[in-house]
Subunit: 199 residues, 2 copies
């Protein structure tokens, strides 16, 4: 065996030991609270990736879309025939189009009722609260209601929360928090959002 | 209208103007190079979310998995019946299990041939090079080959590159770069990876 191959083998043996140690020390089993936040791309897209994954195993999934309700959405097109997927969409456009706080609050509260139902359902393995952070920021929804629904959810249920500027109390409750940071964004260099990629 | 409602409306009008200005200034149309890097979760999952999205519009998609070849994978289960999706998987286990540089290099080069074919195919709207950054890091693949294939790809084709420590030349070529940063990870607090969520 060459020197390079020998060094490679030794370094991989170390890596294997580290991986195995980590796997062995993780022994608690329950649903998670996952927060995808930050100013970069991938917060919602990663949530949809997890939805696809969970559906792939036959789990029941609920998605609540608090903002992108009126956008066309390739993921929904692709997955909506799946009987295990329920999608609830806030019945209003972008808040910067409606410009009406009361109407937005009403629409938010109505779809939050759907979210509460999903968060109380032991059959639902995964709930996505997509862009819910903005509802808290705009005051359409109270943090206390969200905390309570999360705390009382079934033990096996995982919840994914997406959106910028996640409320500090949500971050504090979460098991996994990822900050998607924008290093560079095509849109800021004059490139159009692409169908099937960006939306 | 109450003061609070009036302030809300004014602030939303400003936001709307900013959104519209950005949309108007983005007028270049072509496929993108997107890099999902960083030590946090969501790099691969966001790529699978985009795959689901593109398939939802009926686009042809190619995925090359350079590392997780032997893991069970809910996304693949869910999507593999789609005639528009082709998945090529590196025919080896985790590099820390095989511990054999030559065998890994051969396996990498073989699946890279599949990637090159996809990257040259004008019908393929999206190509995912999942975990390819490690192939470059371990020296199984040359950066020059990857650069050349990316540069010569069809103009309408988008490529998503995932993995930690993306090569600086890939970052330099990319249109959109997102750094997924780990703020907190359940696994490090003793929580087991969950079927349908983490894998």
């Amino acid at each position: 065996m060459s020197d390079r191959d020998t060094r490679h083998k030794a370094s991989m043996e170390k890596l294997k030991a580290r991986v195995e140690e980590k796997v062995a020390s993780a022994n608690e089993q329950r649903g998670l609270i996952i927060v995808n936040t930050g100013n970069g791309k991938g917060k919602t897209t990663a949530a949809w990736g997890t939805v696809t994954r969970a559906l792939g195993y036959g789990y029941k999934v609920g998605v609540v879309q608090f903002i992108k309700g009126l956008w066309e959405c390739g993921e929904r097109n692709r997955l909506e025939e799946d009987a295990n997927l329920e999608v609830a969409i806030m019945a209003t456009g972008f808040t910067w189009d409606t410009q009406n706080r009361q109407a937005d609050t009403d629409a938010c509260q109505a779809v939050w009722k759907e979210a509460e139902r999903m968060l109380a359902d032991p059959e639902t393995y995964l709930v996505v609260l997509d862009e819910i952070t903005y509802m808290l920021k705009f005051g359409y929804l109270e943090i206390e209601s969200v905390k309570q629904a999360l705390e009382n959810r079934p033990q096996e249920q995982t919840v994914i929360i997406t959106g910028r500027n996640a409320h500090r109390e949500l971050v504090a409750m979460a098991d996994t928090v990822t900050e998607m940071q924008e290093v560079r964004h095509a849109f800021n260099n004059g490139l159009q959002a692409r169908r099937g990629i960006d939306f």
